[in-house]
């Protein structure tokens, strides 16, 4: 070929009618041109001072030591994704399923089981668990961290129970905010659009005393409703306001102290279709529900270095949350105390051990739909862990052995060990493997709540009752779900500009959740309807396997491509006497294949041009019987940002651009009609002062 790649690019761009196609081709061909490189050590100090810093590959290099499937979302990744919430930012991680099921609810899980009450994923914000103890799961809509002050989000797929404890079954998400020292000065973000109705965030950081840094922040987001599959307004708009602070101080002794807290209040709307055996002929009521949710938390951490190779830390937090909706009123208070000690022993051993105590005070209030026999509970969780990293061959081969032992009031003692081996085959390549066990402990709801799931006509002749109401029944014998996971991973950077991270896993589940059919039918409400109890039992088992690939290519100094691919197979079976169909559907509720491709480009240093393409395979609803599968979808986000001055950024973001709207999931609890995420456009101004 006589033409150069560059001129082919130009021809292609000028010829193509579609800007998008041109852009994509341009990127692919540019990728073929060799990147420029320089030996910085030949520069003088004066010259070095003038060189601007980029963050090529920094992320994966610092990860090459972890013997786990870990993916890090950086502050920059979040900003350039255009995401306005943590759940949306998580879509870039491999191995995670993220579905927006209504405007204010997300179903998020790792390696399967993604539904509204996905309970096998542990989520922490600065060391504070946000996993709701009363029903197992995370209220994502209320974990509204100030995105601009997040340092990173660590997404760990696979069990993390040895370090983080129960419920870290399929993964752990660690949201880590920047220290107050790193967020000095003022920051104002304001904007809005057709779906993101209002975006506002304000932060100010200062150094009130030498060595002590502090910041305060406040933020507000209002979001538009989704659209129903029939094209009507989803009536699920919502807003959330949150404020907080963080203080980081280094004391004269070298001890480090952190104190932080947040306070939020949220108003959410949802449309429910709840079973009502007396409402002829549909046996259900439509409810236009307004949810109030609020909470606050306070966390203190103290760290001290005892010697050059040992340190201790002590952390205490208090977390309060309450939420009122049509089918459930709940409130919880958590007090958590954690102690950790790390030290080096006999040269080759890096040992960390710790003790923890958590007190949970749960209050659930009865509603028509949810009855609870043990409405107020106060539970204790005691835990201890020890982990030893053994350097078998210095800087080459490392063995990690550890276990968590914890005691909870429901299932007693739980032991969650792991063994990991990491082999640094070369400077560029690391191989790792692990076997680990984790459990998902029961929630208060599973132990003692009775929840109406559906009402149907019996078809019996009068005078027999015409309706049967099915209610799940909390079961005090319900135990933990368990997993043994086998994982293998490879991280390699064949060139300085390309980082590859591959993980494969086989998950062996046992004692999984099932609803079974009770022995007797009860007559209720003076014979007007029958009640069928569906007690929870641990009668299902199964396995999952899959593959996750993350590739990061710094094509040129001003252009980076990031690819994530996930493949998942889940096969679950309930024992025959459970008559439970939900496990079959549960296994199909996650997309088999997912792709995320991000392109982060700086055509000029003051301009960001970012593109994000996602593909999600077909999925099925969990609890909705005979529902149509949700078709596979492609979607595209674009972001254009311009910094006219170093302290000012103007950004324009288009989200879900490829279609008017698309459905991502079903609202599992009493969803009235399927909802679809719409195309959105918003603009923001970001000012540092």
């Amino acid at each position: 070929m006589s033409t150069s790649p560059a001129s082919r690019v130009e021809n292609l761009i000028s010829r193509s009618t579609s800007h998008l196609v041109g852009l994509l081709w341009g990127m692919l061909l540019l990728a073929a041109t060799p990147a420029l490189s320089a030996d910085l050590t030949e520069l003088s100090m004066e010259e070095l001072l003038a060189v601007e810093v980029t963050s090529v590959g920094k992320k994966t290099q610092s990860l090459s030591d972890a013997a786990a499937a870990i993916f890090v979302i950086s502050n920059d990744d979040i900003r350039r994704s255009g995401a306005t919430s943590v759940p949306e930012a998580l879509r870039m991680a491999p191995g995670l399923e993220v579905k927006r099921i209504d405007a204010n609810k997300w179903a998020i899980s790792a390696r399967g089981f993604s539904n509204r009450f996905a309970n096998k994923l542990l989520v922490l914000i600065d060391g504070r668990t946000v996993y709701t103890p009363s029903f197992s799961g995370v209220y994502w809509e209320n974990q509204d961290v100030m995105l601009a002050d997040i340092d990173r989000i660590e997404v760990i797929r696979g069990p993390g129970a040895t370090l983080w404890g129960a419920n870290a079954v399929n993964g752990v998400i660690n949201i880590i905010t920047r220290s107050a020292a790193a967020t000095q000065g003022g920051l104002l973000i304001a904007g809005g659009g057709n779906e993101e109705r209002a975006i506002g965030a304000l932060r100010y950081g200062a150094e009130p005393a030498p060595g002590t840094f502090a910041r305060v922040y406040a933020k507000y987001n209002a979001r538009d409703a989704l659209i129903t599959s029939l094209g009507d307004d989803g009536r699920d708009e919502w807003d959330i306001g949150q404020g907080g602070f963080r203080v980081d101080s280094t004391l004269g002794s070298g001890d480090r102290v952190t104190l932080e807290g947040d306070l939020y209040r949220s108003n959410l709307r949802q449309q429910l279709e709840v079973p009502d055996p007396l409402a002829v002929p549909t046996f259900s009521d439509a409810i236009d529900d307004h949810i109030n949710a609020e909470g606050w938390n306070l966390l203190g951490r103290w760290e001290r270095a005892l010697s050059v190779s040992s340190d201790v830390s002590l952390q205490l937090y208090y977390d309060h949350a309450e939420r009122e909706e049509a089918y459930l009123d709940q409130r919880y208070d958590i007090l958590d105390l954690d102690f950790q000690h790390r030290f080096k022993a006999a040269e080759r051993h890096d040992i960390v051990w710790g003790l923890g105590y958590r007190n949970t005070d749960d209050r659930l209030e009865d509603t028509e739909i949810l009855r609870i026999t043990s409405a107020a509970e106060n539970r204790n969780l005691w835990s201890g862990f020890v982990q030893d990293e053994i350097e078998l061959l210095r800087d080459r081969l490392r063995l990690t052995l550890g276990t968590k032992i914890e005691h909870n009031d429901y299932t007693g003692l739980e032991i969650q060990p792991n063994i990991r081996l990491l082999w640094k085959a070369s400077e560029q390549s690391t191989l790792w493997g692990s076997v680990s066990r984790a459990v998902r402990t029961p929630s208060q709801a599973e132990r003692s709540a009775s929840v109406s799931t559906n009402a149907e006509a019996t078809g019996l002749p009068a005078p027999y009752p015409q309706v049967v109401l099915a209610r799940t029944a909390g079961n005090s014998g319900y135990g933990s779900e368990s997993l043994i996971a086998y994982e293998l991973g490879l991280r390699t950077s064949p060139t300085k500009r390309l980082n590859l991270d591959l993980a494969v896993f086989y998950n062996d589940y046992d004692e999984l959740w099932t609803t079974t059919v009770g022995d007797t039918l009860r007559v209720a409400d003076s014979g007007r309807y029958l009640v069928l109890d569906l007690p929870f039992k641990n009668l299902a088992s199964g396995h999952g396997y899959g593959l996750e690939l993350a590739a990061d290519l710094q094509v040129r100094d001003n252009w980076r491509l990031a690819l994530a691919y996930s493949y998942l197979e889940l096969d679950l079976t309930a024992s025959s006497d459970s008559l439970d169909i939900s496990n079959e559907t549960l296994a199909r509720t996650d997309p088999r294949q997912q792709v995320s491709l991000r392109s982060l480009m700086n055509p000029r240093p003051d301009i960001d041009l970012d593109l994000w393409i996602r593909y999600v395979d077909q999925t099925y609803p969990v609890f909705v019987q005979n529902a149509q599968p949700i078709p596979a979808y492609w979607t595209l986000d674009l972001r254009l940002a311009w910094r006219p001055r170093a302290d000012l950024e103007l950004a324009l973001v288009g989200q879900n651009l490829l279609s008017e709207s698309h459905q991502e999931g079903y609202q599992d609890a009493y969803g009235a009609v399927p909802l679809e995420v719409q195309r959105g456009l918003y603009a923001t101004v970001r000012l540092d002062f």
Partner: protein, 187 residues
């Protein structure tokens, strides 16, 4: 108003082909102007420069044939870039890179690069190194203020450094005036 952080850069790139050609011709300078350099590589390049502008007491550099030992203490993303300095010449000595883990002895080091991973142990570490003729350099924020000698700081998206002259002098090291001049802060 001109953008403050990149005053020397062309404000608007020309057509693609001239830029690519220019890139090939101008090599290094153009590569840097296009988008800068990786922080890790910059840190390594600075370290190499520091090794040329520090004078060690003769007790620490007795044998002219002995290597200048640069110890990388702890796990750092800059480890690989620093490793590339191995064998380079500084003040007539070959640089040797030693990778040390937490708790290893630091007695043979001329330069100790303290990784961010060691920030919880900074005080005990600096106590161990105090008055020893080893130049301490780190990416840990506040390193110079805490008693380290040279601490990297990031300002305006550029990597700069602060110097704690007192610590260096107490250890018997003398830093060249050029080094002191270029530091963002000397204390």
């Amino acid at each position: 108003m001109l953008p403050e952080s990149f005053p020397t850069r062309p404000r608007r790139p020309r057509a693609l082909i001239p830029r690519l050609l220019l890139g090939c011709v101008l090599g290094v300078a153009s590569a840097l102007a296009l988008g800068g350099a990786e922080e890790n590589e910059l840190a390594a390049a600075y370290l190499y420069n520091f090794s040329k502008f520090v004078h060690w007491p003769s007790s620490a550099m007795r044998d002219p044939a002995a290597p200048l030992v640069l110890c990388v203490y702890g796990r750092t993303p800059a480890g690989e870039s620093i490793g590339a300095l191995d064998g380079k010449l500084a003040q007539g000595h070959r640089i040797r890179i030693d990778r040390l883990s937490r708790g290893d002895a630091l007695t043979r080091c001329h330069i100790v690069y303290v990784s961010a991973s060691e920030s919880p142990y900074l005080n005990p570490l600096l106590r161990t190194l105090a008055n020893r003729p080893a130049l301490t350099v780190s990416e840990i924020p506040g390193f110079a203020a805490a008693g380290g000698m040279i601490g990297f700081v990031k300002e305006d998206n550029r990597l700069r450094f602060e110097i704690n002259r007192g610590s260096a002098e107490a250890a018997g090291l003398s830093l060249s005036s050029q080094l002191l001049k270029l530091a963002t802060r000397v204390q």
